[in-house]
């Protein structure tokens, strides 16, 4: 992880064809089976798969031993079936601006490499502006502080 970034990136090789992976991201019945973390389940999921269309995933159950619930919702920004899915991400009831999730699927030996990028900045403008010069800053400051803490 690069704490310096406002975006994070997670990759995984999944032993399945790209179309099946894409379907798992965009079919409510399949989304229900993997979207919720920990001991949570997804009672309802919906997905209007077109640019500007909305998705909504409700999550309920236990998170780290405690009762929890939350609904994530957003709109599709870019869709290339089997390849790319870009959507906004916001928790219902949370006043914070939405963030953006990008899911890339690439053919790899033995399956599909899935890359998920979650970005703090939602507008393309803001993203471009912040693209450069980020890495290192926050990380340096944080590690500087940690060293200082340890010294004290």
């Amino acid at each position: 992880m690069k704490p310096a970034d406002t975006r994070l990136c997670v990759k995984k090789l999944i032993k399945a064809k790209r179309d099946r992976v894409f379907a798992a991201w965009t079919t409510p019945d399949l989304m229900k089976q993997w979207y919720a973390p920990d001991e949570m389940t997804v009672p309802t999921a919906s997905c209007d798969l077109r640019v500007g269309g909305k998705y909504r995933v409700e999550m309920m159950g236990r998170l780290m031993g405690e009762q929890a619930s939350g609904t994530v919702t957003g709109k599709y920004i870019k869709i290339i079936p089997g390849e790319l899915l870009v959507f906004t991400w916001r928790w219902e009831g949370d006043p914070s601006p939405e963030t953006v999730v990008t899911v890339e699927l690439a053919e790899a030996s033995g399956g599909t490499e899935v890359t998920v990028t979650h970005d703090r900045f939602s507008s393309a403008n803001a993203r471009n502006k912040h693209e450069y010069g980020w890495t290192g800053c926050l990380e340096n400051l944080a590690s500087y502080w940690r060293q200082n803490e340890q010294r004290q």
């Binding site: 999944i14 399945a16 928790w91 800053c137 803490e149």
Partner: protein, 110 residues
């Protein structure tokens, strides 16, 4: 999953989005500085620096204290930590989600 320990991550990330403000933060991370000291490397008016400091202050990334007619500025590292936590939390979220996605797809027949 968005707010952390009373810090507004949106204000923090907004404040950090500007190169001048990041440079200011770097300067105050090693030790406390006066506003005049901070203005020097940027060839910027005190008023312009003050504007940046206000934004950093609003995000609680810095502490400002007054001593006589001098303002001292220092880093509030806790705010940076909360920005890191956001990333760490979602990192874990997506890692575990992809694990469960792969379990789902790998157990099903093609």
């Amino acid at each position: 999953m968005v707010e952390s320990a009373g810090y507004s991550l949106d204000l923090i990330f907004q404040a950090l989005s500007d190169p001048t403000r990041r440079a200011i933060l770097k300067n105050v991370s090693s030790r406390e500085r006066t506003v005049t000291e901070l203005a020097k490397p940027f060839r910027m008016s005190l008023a312009a620096v003050s504007k940046h400091l206000k934004i950093l202050d609003r995000a609680r990334l810095i502490h400002r204290t007054r001593c006589g007619s001098f303002y001292y500025v220092r880093l509030n590292p806790e705010a940076l930590m909360s920005a890191e936590q956001w990333l760490a939390r979602y990192q874990k979220f997506w890692q575990t989600r992809l694990d469960s996605l792969s379990r789902l797809l790998e157990k099903e027949p093609e």
